[in-house]
């Protein structure tokens, strides 16, 4: 698993931190053939996310979505993994760093440990395993799928060393381990150490230190988690009974509220609390009351607003806009008393809850702070490393990059995006080192099985509780063992664990098996892994058949164990039949086209194009309008003061001058076909609509979004009413006008968070703060009112919001049932609204009314591109990524990546991060030299073919032709394996390999076997 080769050069990237971000960075680099050292201070990689129960907004359990990423991490040849390791210093400069690493002793030899768990069973106190609320020990095997797959020993607690050493059947426990110090050279460094959560112990009024029923949101997460200390039972720590009334208190340790809190907003806690409240309702019944005490609900991410609305409307989560004053438990009482006040009412309310969850925010850990200081990096007031406005992964020291929550508090998808962007930047400082032939594990020759009787091995997983808790695995083994052709049937626990895989491999060789059935999980996630396994055992990989007894049986029939066992038997029976009918197949491959098509020439598309072109790839940049620059052309400065105009000019001139970029303006895309690595896209170009075809290997969608201009509040009717973009232009160009204004009113959420456009546009709160501050710079006497619903200045933007309040901008909350009232009044615009604190209606005669209208998807354009490229979109017209949490840049169609506002509304800074992430993801595919077409291709039986031409006409790719011998011929290298010809052929002369009729029929026959027997 670990690559021990020691490269003398500095041609590798050091990634510090093995959480989600660090893993993604390392994988991106490794897939692009770059060498990586991944270090993590913990016993296993995985970081914070492995402790979460479910993730928003899909409420999926995340372990099974994360663990394939982790096992990828273990398998990668370019990654050297150093667990229990910290970096003590880095000297040198970009391209030539020297880092000193300290590895703590694990007392377990990783090469020998099989993670059997015997030591932990016998001596749980000395072996690190249980995470979370359990205070016995920090974690080692923090969760069942951990990497490295090994335990670790807490020697300080062990009082019988000999007994412990003896208990290990593999002899892996080695007590003379003293750890080690080493020095490594690297070309660039990515910091991905993540963040710590705020510790509320010192805040007496929240009673966290004294009341067991006051927990942090992460602790609550562990209580909900099936792999947590309570095995997924929701119980109060104080009395082990299910709570009936739970309160969440937001912004603990964020927004500068409490002693020791950072000035920033922690961005993810609102969604975190929503998710916990929803999951609580979903899993533990309607009778649990859930209440969230909040300051502003900041659900600004993609589709997050909908999640918020669902929490409110569907799940009945109660929201109270208030910051509770205190949490106390009176003598002799069991409940926690929470006191708070409501807006416009000074009397204090006291309400009883039996659990209180503190939504604790992110902060930079002490260890990270020390390392940042040692590295000499500039940091902000909350100790986060500072980064330039238009490249959020670059630190103040060249060659050192940052991503994830160490850069700024953020959620999982944004961490994934930034991790890929960091990989893109770090990759530029080093060269690729393709794996040479002799480094690839030599595979044994494929055994010729022709003429052999079928010898099938059936291996059945229990997948922990997933299968084992529902179906009777022993019975399945017995059943499989008596099926014709089966010579081995065995239960394999977690079939995908390293240990089981080794056993299966040995069994195949020893028993001379020539077919394998895995009765396990989904072929979608695990087929390639098992195919690889049987290939290593000398079998053609297409001699594997999978019976998905987890997804198709035990998961869906969890409440009917007997029926699930019977269905699993049927599935296994069918799979055995199909396996017997399977034949060895050969795969075809074609050379990879390494050119790139970027669709959209805004700042995002240009950035992706430049990053890829700088790496030597030819890029076609197709822009539908006649010039580059997109929406950013109409912007001037960002909230942080960075110059957008200069950015656009710089990108346009570099893009146009780059010899590897061909800019195609006036390009309307009309057709597309092919597969990843060999796409062809047709477009009409320019006024004369010249039809042009581009051949490319990957596609990046960076088509942007449109500034919204809804016909609301006199927009378009009155020249004193405009949008934030309009106001920005006035602030840049007409200072005199600005100086003449007395009152300016801004209304937030115009055309967002409503029925037509239910999502939050994300960028408008920061635009309001930005333009408000700029306005006061020009005209300090003006009065600026911002009418808002929730002010969503997430992350470091919070500090600008505080500054705006200090400067005297008046922020007034409104609700949708009492929106502002706008009418023309002489030379001004009259804006009426209710001040909730004063409880009074006010009217302002505004010299300018600025509407925060945000962005909407360019629906016509995304709809058509989605049709042409066969991509998916969200209900509101943005492109849909493959996985909302873990693959936010990849699209479901392989070879397609999405970046910028085509994905969802976001700032320029955020768009550019995603642009670089898309470039990094694209490079993982572009690093390949050939495309594996698989074995699924159509084959013609010349004897049966009547040359009727039906296949020639049916084929969408014009592949079949009638050859000199007078029958249809299909070139397997050109066949896409769609199967159309096979289904149309009247003579049944065409078979699609891997899906041959006899294989499918064998399945069906075996299924009906039982039914016939019954009848």
């Amino acid at each position: 698993m670990q690559n021990t080769k020691e490269l003398p050069t500095s041609n590798k990237v050091l990634v510090i931190g093995g959480g989600l971000g660090g893993i993604r960075t390392a994988l991106d680099l490794a897939e692009a053939e770059k060498d990586v050292i991944l270090v993590d201070k913990s016993y296993n990689i995985g970081g914070l996310m492995t402790q979460l129960d479910r993730t928003f907004p899909t409420n999926n359990c995340d372990l099974c979505t994360l663990s394939p990423n982790l096992s990828e991490g273990g398998r990668q040849k370019h990654i050297e993994l150093e667990a229990m390791t910290t970096v003590t210093g880095i000297t040198g400069e970009k391209g030539n760093f020297k880092a000193t690493l300290r590895t703590e002793p694990r007392y377990i030899n990783l090469e020998k440990c099989t993670a059997c768990g015997e030591c932990y069973k016998q001596f749980p106190q000395w072996v690190r395993f249980t995470p979370g609320l359990d205070h016995r020990a920090p974690t080692c095997m923090r969760y069942p799928q951990a990497i490295p797959q090994a335990y670790s020993i807490d020697l300080a607690k062990c009082d019988d060393v000999e007994a412990l050493v003896k208990v290990c059947p593999a002899g892996a426990i080695q007590l003379d381990d003293i750890g080690r110090n080493r020095e490594v050279r690297c070309g660039s460094v990515v910091l991905a150490m993540g963040a710590d959560l705020f510790d509320p112990s010192h805040l007496d009024y929240l009673a966290y230190a004294t009341q067991p029923d006051v927990v942090t949101s992460l602790e609550y997460e562990r209580i909900l988690s099936a792999s947590g200390p309570t095995q997924g039972q929701l119980i109060r720590p104080s009395n082990k009974k299910q709570p009936k009334k739970i309160a969440w208190i937001q912004c603990v340790g964020s927004r500068g509220i409490q002693k020791g809190a950072g000035a920033h907003c922690s961005s993810a806690c609102c969604m975190f609390a929503l998710k916990e409240a929803i999951v609580t309702k979903e899993r533990f019944g309607e009778n649990i009351e859930t209440t969230i005490f909040y300051m502003d609900m900041r659900t600004f991410g993609k589709d997050y607003e909908l999640y918020y609305q669902r929490a409110k409307d569907e799940f009945g989560v109660r929201f109270i806009h208030s910051r509770p004053h205190s949490v106390v438990q009176e003598e002799g009482e069991k409940d926690l008393k929470l006191s708070y006040t409501l807006e416009g009412n000074s009397s204090q309310i006291t309400e009883e809850f039996d659990m209180v969850v503190l939504a604790t925010g992110f902060k930079v850990s002490e260890e990270s702070r020390e390392l940042l200081e040692k590295l000499g990096l500039e940091t902000n007031s909350s100790n986060f490393p500072t980064t330039p406005g238009f490249n959020a992964v670059v630190t103040s020291r060249p060659g050192i990059y940052v991503c994830g929550t160490l850069q700024e508090p953020k959620d999982i998808p944004e961490t994934m995006v930034q991790a890929s962007a960091a990989a893109c930047m770090a990759a530029k400082d080093i060269a690729a080192t393709p794996i040479t032939e002799d480094e690839i594990e030599a595979l044994p020759p494929e055994r010729d099985i022709s003429g052999e009787e079928p010898r099938v091995g059936v291996f059945i997983c229990d997948c922990g509780e997933n299968i084992g808790a529902v179906a009777d695995v022993d019975e399945l083994v017995k059943f499989a063992g008596q099926l014709p052709g089966v010579v081995v049937a065995a239960a394999k626990g977690h079939g995908c664990s390293r240990e089981s895989m080794e056993q299966i491999k040995a069994t195949i060789v020893e028993e001379g098996l020539n077919r394998v059935v895995m009765a396990a999980c989904s072929p979608r996630t695990h087929e390639s892994k098992f195919q690889e396994l049987i290939r290593q055992a000398g079998l053609n990989k297409y001699l594997l058949e999978m019976a998905n007894i987890r997804d198709q049986s035990t998961w869906v029939h969890g409440n009917a164990p007997q029926a699930a066992t019977q269905k699993s038997k049927d599935l296994i029976h069918m799979a055995v039949g199909a396996a017997i009918a399977s034949k060895p197949l050969s795969e075809h491959s074609l050379p990879m086209n390494k050119d790139v098509l970027v669709v959209g020439g805004g700042v995002t598309g240009m950035t992706s194009a430049l990053e890829l072109a700088d790496q030597g790839f030819k890029v076609y940049l197709a822009e539908k309008t006649s010039s580059l620059g997109g929406v950013a052309k109409s912007l001037h400065k960002t909230l942080e003061g960075d110059d957008v105009t200069a950015l656009v000019e710089d990108l346009v001139s570099r893009t146009k001058a780059h010899e590897k970029i061909e800019v195609i303006t006036g390009a309307l895309i009309v057709d597309h076909n092919g597969m990843p690595g060999m796409f062809t896209t047709g477009m009409q170009v320019g006024k004369q609509m010249f039809y042009r075809r581009i051949e490319h290997g990957v596609t990046i969608m960076a088509t942007g979004a449109l500034p919204n201009r809804p016909a609301k509040y006199l927009l378009g009717e009155n020249d004193r009413v405009g949008t934030q973009i309009d106001l920005q232009a006035i602030l840049a160009e007409d200072l005199q006008k600005v100086q003449s204004w007395d009152n300016v009113v801004m209304i937030q959420c115009v055309g967002s968070r409503d029925e037509e456009n239910p999502n939050c546009s994300r960028i408008c709160c920061q635009s309001a703060v930005k333009n408000g501050l700029r306005l006061l710079e020009i005209n300090p006497d003006a009065r600026v009112f911002v009418l808002y619903r929730d002010l969503r200045t997430y992350g470091f933007q919070e500090e600008y919001y505080q500054k705006a309040r200090e400067k005297g901008i008046i922020f007034v909350r409104y609700t949708t049932d009492n929106p502002p009232r706008v009418e023309k009044s002489g030379d001004t615009v009259s804006v009426g609204f209710t001040d909730p604190i004063l409880g009074m209606d006010l009217t302002v005669a505004a010299d300018y009314l600025c509407l925060s209208t945000g962005l909407v998807a360019d629906k016509d354009s995304t709809e058509e591109l989605a049709m042409v490229f066969k991509l998916q979109r969200t209900h509101d017209g943005y492109f849909l990524e493959d996985h909302i949490k873990l693959r936010p840049v990849d699209m479901a169609m392989p070879g397609f990546y999405v970046a910028g506002t085509a994905h969802s509304p976001k700032s320029i800074r955020e768009s550019l991060v995603q642009a670089r992430a898309a470039a990094s993801r694209a490079q993982t595919l572009l690093a390949r030299d050939s495309i594996n077409l698989g074995a699924a291709s159509a084959r013609v039986d010349g004897d049966k073919c009547a040359a009727c031409l039906i296949c020639v006409r049916a084929c969408p790719f014009d592949v079949p032709f009638i050859n000199a011998e007078g029958y249809s011929e299909i070139d397997p290298a050109q066949c896409h394996g769609c199967g159309l010809c096979a289904s149309e052929c009247p003579a049944k002369a065409i078979q699609l390999m891997q899906f041959e009729d006899d294989r499918i029929l064998a399945k069906i026959e075996d299924l009906f076997d039982r039914l016939e027997a019954k009848a």
Partner: protein, 290 residues
């Protein structure tokens, strides 16, 4: 019946436009042409009049002749002087191409070779006059030819933005007809009501009018034309029809086919323009009932 005979007997002629490749891979051109052989009266081969460098129309025309398909090639004045133009016309005749349409050309600023020199030695009227002169046995200078070519010539009405521009184009077309053009090809027609008005205006030209029927491939294309060419008069209804269609590709083919069918009652022929999707021509002709 030949194109020329059909034209003079006022039969409905169907022309299909096919571009030569940018490069020398002629497989697509030849395959697409074979698919519609016998279903159209001639294939129109544009030259580089749109400013994009590609294989010349003369070679494209010859390929069509080799396939046994009648052809009409474009000639225009931006890139060649009177010597080159006359030479090409005679070459065309010798190679079996007797149909020429003299077309307007894009300004060089729209070209993919923006630094190229514009020639425009003679204009479209003079070119038509020169061709007529060749057919009468003399070149432009009056020198006699050894062997006399024959041609059927047409001209175009260039895209126009408003009525004033159209009036100018019609005046210009009249001059071209006087100089020898025996048919007129119009810009793409997207709106039959508007086209009826157009026909009223050009009635006086007294030669067959052959409107261009353009295959709309996508909503974006329709919107682009609606925005950039007000003279095309794309209606909101048409845009709506495309937007709502479950399969826009099929809808575009239907619209083109229906337009051709409607033209049969109005004019003497059509030219179908598919700009890159020549493989869809059979489907369009199916819808049109041709």
């Amino acid at each position: 019946m030949s194109f020329q005979k059909k034209l003079s007997s006022n039969d409905f002629v169907v022309l299909a436009e096919m571009h030569t490749p940018k490069g020398v891979n002629i497989a697509g051109l030849v395959n697409d042409a074979r698919r519609i052989k016998g279903r159209v009266d001639a294939i129109v081969i544009p030259d580089m009049d749109n400013g994009i460098v590609r294989m010349s129309a003369l070679a494209g025309g010859v390929l069509m002749r080799q396939e046994g398909i009648e052809t009409i090639i474009h000639m225009y004045c931006r890139d060649r002087n009177r010597l080159a133009l006359q030479g090409d016309a005679m070459a065309a005749h010798v190679l079996g191409i007797n149909n020429i349409v003299v077309v307007h050309s894009e300004d060089m600023s729209q070209s993919d070779h923006r630094e190229a020199q514009t020639v425009t030695d003679i204009d479209e009227v003079e070119l038509l006059g020169a061709i007529r002169s060749l057919a009468a046995g003399k070149d432009m200078e009056g020198f006699e030819l050894d062997g006399i070519p024959s041609f059927t010539c047409g001209c175009t009405i260039a895209p126009y933005e408003n009525q004033k521009e159209l009036d100018k184009e019609i005046d210009f077309a009249r001059k071209k007809i006087d100089a020898g053009a025996s048919f007129v090809i119009t810009p793409p027609v997207f709106n039959l009501d508007d086209f009826a008005g157009f026909l009223e205006k050009v009635k006086g030209l007294d030669v067959p009018i052959i409107p261009t029927v353009f295959l709309i491939k996508s909503l974006a294309i329709a919107q682009y034309i609606a925005n950039s060419e007000p003279g095309a008069k794309i209606s909101d209804d048409l845009i709506r029809r495309i937007r709502k269609a479950p399969d826009r590709e099929v809808e575009g083919i239907k619209i083109a086919g229906e337009t051709i069918a409607a033209m049969k009652r109005m004019v003497g022929g059509v030219k179908v323009q598919t700009l890159g999707w020549e493989h869809k021509l059979p489907d369009i002709l199916d819808v049109a009932g041709i």
